[in-house]
């Protein structure tokens, strides 16, 4: 039965000591420990979260880079295409220009030839006229020396003309 009857002394000491232990540990152990644990858990959580965020950002960045690359590639293709087209156009234009110039040159040449021809013909005509005049003069000078002589002379001059 003694087992079931609490002693006053022990109740007193247990109360006093338990409360002292409680207050000492509350102030110097449990509060600092609980705060430190909480702070550390918060810190770890934050670190994990920011790592996750960094990972996401990295993925985003990578995606962006890929997009940029894709864009750049498209742009390059576009530029290349345009350049090719431009080159072709220029080539075509150049070809067209060249043929035009050539035609023009040919035309010019033709016209100049024509002119030369005309000039030459004019000259020939002048020359013929001069020669005719000369002949006429000579004929006139010798008109009195018989028909035969005149005829021979004319023939001679005509022969000369033919040679020319």
């Amino acid at each position: 039965m003694e087992l079931l009857t609490p002693g006053i002394g022990l109740i007193f000491w247990q109360t006093v000591i338990f409360i002292i232990v409680f207050i000492v540990l509350l102030t110097f152990a449990w509060r600092p420990i609980a705060d430190a644990l909480k702070a550390r858990e918060g810190f770890i959580n934050d670190a994990l979260k920011s790592a996750e965020l960094a990972k996401e950002e990295m993925a985003q960045l990578k995606e962006d880079n890929e997009l940029l690359l894709e864009d750049a590639r498209k742009e390059r293709d576009h530029i290349l295409k345009e350049a090719l087209a431009a080159a072709n156009r220029i080539k075509e234009e150049a070809k067209a220009d060249t043929s035009k110039i050539a035609e023009k040159m040919i035309a010019d040449a033709k016209s100049s030839i024509e002119n030369e021809k005309k000039a030459a013909l004019a000259e020939v005509q002048n020359l013929v006229a001069e020669i005719s005049l000369d002949i006429a003069e000579k004929v006139l000078r010798k008109n009195l020396s018989g028909d035969k002589a005149q005829k021979a002379l004319v023939d001679e001059y005509i022969k000369d003309l033919k040679v020319n």
Binding site: E2, P6, G9, L10, I20, V21, A29, P32
Partner: protein, 345 residues
């Protein structure tokens, strides 16, 4: 590989030695038999071990007993302090001293009609000091670890106790009390470690049966009772004095039951721990007493094996009882501060 095996072997050796020490020292100080004049009296032996005393007896002989101070208070003589060794003569016989006699662990006044209150540093009180000192030293060291290495992984003694502290917080206190747990966490941590350390120290050789003493468990139960009822909110008291959802006529039955329930909660806490620890000690001591009753090698061998087994179970019980006491305390506090939920029904 070799290192691992050696390590395991060393651990096994440690456990074996530890168990042997526990068994040897718990063993019935064979001399106890001599004290009773030859005939071995197991109930006396067991009582001697589980009850309080004014001296701390480790072994027989001149230095085997630590005499603890006796502190008495009486209205006529005031405070009296003297050593309990005064109750013994040089042949270790009990004598009267200063108007007091020492009988079965109690100090009684010789004069008729005098009453005296005993505030002595008994074996349990001394053990209480030891337990308190150990707790303060250990947990201040743990707290120092957090101060020294904030936000870093725990180290040394800090890493030994951190998982236990976190276990108490996350698995005992938080689920039972809810979001306001932080106010009660320090008390419940103190409670858990006080009981756990007390239980484990009580299993040590020559130790006092501290947490198996009804005064000790009673005080802790009363503190939980005070915490519970002083934090009780409107819902809690409403539940006790005007149980909702019960027909008026039934309230005459329910309300007294609820009021009794307020008091049975701490009483169950007090008795559960006291019984679990004391019963464990009694079982171990009874099994050891068997050896001295039968005085047979066979019984000795069998008894020792069973005692080893029971001692391991006691180690488990020490932890479980600390867990249960803390868990129920949290539960009672949690019920007292729970917000009103009736409208959901």
């Amino acid at each position: 590989m070799d290192e691992g095996v050696n390590h395991k072997r060393a651990n096994l050796l440690k456990i074996t030695v530890l168990s042997l020490v526990i068994i040897l020292f718990n063993s019935p100080l064979a001399v106890a038999a001599e004290e009773t004049g030859g005939a071995f009296n197991p109930s006396e032996l067991i009582n001697h071990h589980i009850l309080d005393a004014h001296e701390w007896h480790f072994f027989d002989g001149h230095y085997g007993t630590l005499f603890l101070p006796v502190i008495l208070y009486s209205s006529d003589k005031g405070l009296e302090v003297f050593s309990s060794s005064n109750f013994y003569d040089e042949h270790h016989n009990i004598v009267e001293f200063n108007g007091y006699k020492y009988e079965h662990g109690h100090i009684l006044p010789l004069a008729e009609g005098r009453t005296v209150i005993d505030f002595s540093i008994t074996k349990n009180v001394a053990f209480l000091f030891l337990n308190a000192t150990l707790m303060i030293v250990i947990f201040l060291a743990v707290a120092r670890g957090y101060k020294k290495r904030p936000r870093e992984a725990p180290k040394g003694i800090q890493s030994l106790f951190e998982p236990i502290i976190v276990f108490v917080r996350d698995d005992i206190v938080k689920p039972n009390i809810g979001p306001k747990y932080e106010r009660y966490l320090p008390y419940l941590l103190t409670l858990f470690f006080f009981i756990w350390f007390g239980n484990l120290l009580g299993l040590m050789p020559g130790a006092a049966n501290l947490t198996g003493n009804i005064a000790v468990t009673g005080v802790m139960a009363i503190i939980t009772f005070l915490f519970t009822n002083f934090s009780g909110n409107k819902t809690y008291w409403g539940h006790v004095f005007n149980t909702p959802g019960v027909p008026f006529a039934l309230k005459f039955i329910i309300v007294p039951v609820e009021i009794i329930g307020v008091f049975t909660k701490p009483i169950s806490l007090m008795i559960r721990l006291f019984v679990a620890i004391t019963a464990g000690h009694i079982v171990i001591l009874s099994l050891i007493s068997l050896i001295f009753i039968f005085e047979s090698y066979m019984v000795g061998f069998a008894s020792t094996l069973i005692v080893v087994f029971i001692t391991f179970i006691e180690l488990l019980v020490a932890t479980i009882q600390a867990y249960v006491f803390t868990m129920f305390s949290s539960l009672y506090i949690g019920l007292a501060i729970e917000e009103h939920h009736e409208e959901h029904h």
